[in-house]
Amino acid sequence: MTTVNVEVTPLPGIGVRKDFAIRNGRRVGVVTHRDGQIELIVSKSDDPDACLASLPLTADEAGALANLLGAPQLVAQLTEEHREVPGIITKQLPIKANGPFDGRTLGDTAMRTRTGVSVVAVMRAGQVHPSPNPDFTFTAGDVIVAVGTSEGLEGAMKILKNG
């Protein structure tokens, strides 16, 4: 894995800008205001000093975006690690708002007993919560990273959808 050099620039009186250049030279990053508000910034292609977009995000929105970006990474890593074991795959399963397990615990799903699938991590607001306990309470926007057979994962998806 290549390292990414995140540049941290103080913005006196406003907050901090953290960004990095992606392969094609454009910058992407965030401006964190002192009151905690986050803006997603993407530089223009024809003028690398300026921003094409500067999107204010709430904490929830930033967390959801971080999950979208972070979960596939974790899945790819786990898939790589389980390559020697044939038939085992890794999948991300989202917890939907007002779904059957929004606000309930991992134990309530009885995932392991019913499908043989193990939940290896939960992504929440861009943070990885590894090996969650049965009393780990889900909230909408969480992404479950589960490992199992393809039938087992099929079943796990149905459980999360229908309860």
Partner: protein
């Protein structure tokens, strides 16, 4: 009608009209400062509606307005930010002083206002409005741009320069001799250094004194401390405004952040009164004779600010569009130009025309600044295109 009733009615009318003006300014994307000044001109002596009954109140309120303006300016930056800003931008900061103070000083000398008048006008044309600029940068979505740290560090430098300039100006306005002036410089340098060191090392203790979890207690403590320090500084001839500014720097961290949030509405209220009072004390009839000079200064100092920003941004390796944006962003002058002119006028050490010139100048620059920041990009792009497509692309950065 008795005196109190009349005062309440007049004050209510003033605030209400200011509210309407502020809303109007917001609708057309302008800073409300020029409209407040115009409001003051309309109310005041020689204006449409003279107000006599609320003089005592507005005088004190406008003083509190200055204290709060400077206190919140100090709260905005931590001592660490001031130091890094100083280290990063001192060359650009010096160029800024030379280029932008000179036009004001030169015009004052040409008009025969003497060395003190020149010092005042130098300050008026030098200091950019950090309030207007921060708002415009946010509104235009430029906080993530590369030129923004350049602009902000120049503003930080200007604020430090103010901390030096204000005590000197206060001493000179008070009529001290050249030696006395030097003494004032020495004292203010010493005081500023001590405050910065205290803020850097022991900022949390200063914060702990004013901090409280209770909003009401916190508000009273912060406001009380600010007025106490300002009053003491004023008694020591160091200028009330600088006292408040230094207190703001010494308070740091989350305390500073909470204090800003709590005091912002109060600052807006009292600063509005300050602008109105400044307008009130300026006779509208004295503006037309100096209008030509104001326009000349506006053109000159717009160009010099653009040059300052351009140069500073080029040193950071920015492209031409970024340099132009940095320059144009700095053009706005506002609250602090009026603070400086206000100090001079209330000391009575300068001619009345100076207030008129400062008013006309800030009216122009507070309107021109945000417009310049907006139009600079299409304008610069148009110029580039006319010089031939791809002649020299904006992406001339090395990294």
């Amino acid at each position: 009608m008795d005196h109190t009733a009349l005062s309440l009615i007049e004050l209510g009318a003033v605030f209400f009209v200011l509210g309407v003006l502020g809303r109007l300014a917001g609708k057309i994307g302008l800073s409300p400062i020029p409209l407040y000044l115009l409001g003051g001109l309309a109310f005041g002596s020689g204006g449409l509606i003279p107000l006599q009954d609320i003089g005592d109140f507005t005088h004190l309120a406008s003083e509190i307005g200055v204290v709060l303006l400077l206190l919140l300016l100090g709260l905005e930056y931590s001592a660490a930010e001031l130091f890094t800003g100083l280290k990063r931008s001192w060359t650009a900061g010096l160029l800024d002083i030379v280029l932008n103070a000179a036009p004001g000083a030169a015009v004052a000398l040409l008009l025969g206002w003497g060395p003190i008048g020149a010092l005042v006008m130098a300050g008026v044309t030098y200091i950019s409005s950090s309030g207007i600029i921060a708002k415009v940068l946010g509104d235009l979505g430029r906080l993530g741009n590369r030129e923004t740290p350049v602009v902000l560090s120049i503003l930080v430098f200007e604020d430090l320069a103010m901390a030096l300039y204000l005590p000197i100006l206060t001493a000179l306005l008070g009529g001290v001799s050249f030696l006395g002036g030097l003494e004032a410089v020495g004292i203010s340098l010493l005081v500023i250094t001590v405050v910065l060191v205290i803020a850097l090392r022991y900022g949390r203790y200063v914060s702990a004194i004013v901090d409280s979890d209770d909003r009401e207690v916190f508000l009273l403590k912060v406001l009380g401390a600010a007025l106490l320090v300002a009053g003491l500084a004023s008694a020591m001839q160091v200028s009330a405004a600088v006292g408040a500014f230094l207190l703001g720097i010494a308070v740091s961290g989350s305390t500073a952040h909470n204090a800003t949030r709590l005091l912002e509405p109060l600052r807006d209220l009292f600063a509005a009164v300050f602008f109105v009072v400044f307008g009130l004390n300026t006779n509208p009839a004295s503006i037309p004779p100096v209008l030509g000079w104001a326009v000349l200064l506006a053109v000159l100092t717009s160009l010099t600010k653009v040059a300052t920003g351009w140069w500073a941004a080029r040193r950071q390796g920015l492209g031409k569009l970024g340099r132009a944006r940095a320059g144009a962003a700095l053009v706005a002058r506002g609250e602090f130009s009026i603070v400086i002119a206000g100090l001079a006028v209330s000391a009575g050490a300068v001619v009345d025309q100076l207030a008129a010139l400062a008013t006309a100048y800030v009216l122009l620059m507070a309107i021109l600044g945000p417009i310049a920041a907006r139009v600079v990009e299409p304008l610069a792009k148009g110029l580039q295109r006319r010089r031939g497509h791809g002649h020299e692309p904006a992406t001339s950065r090395a990294s």
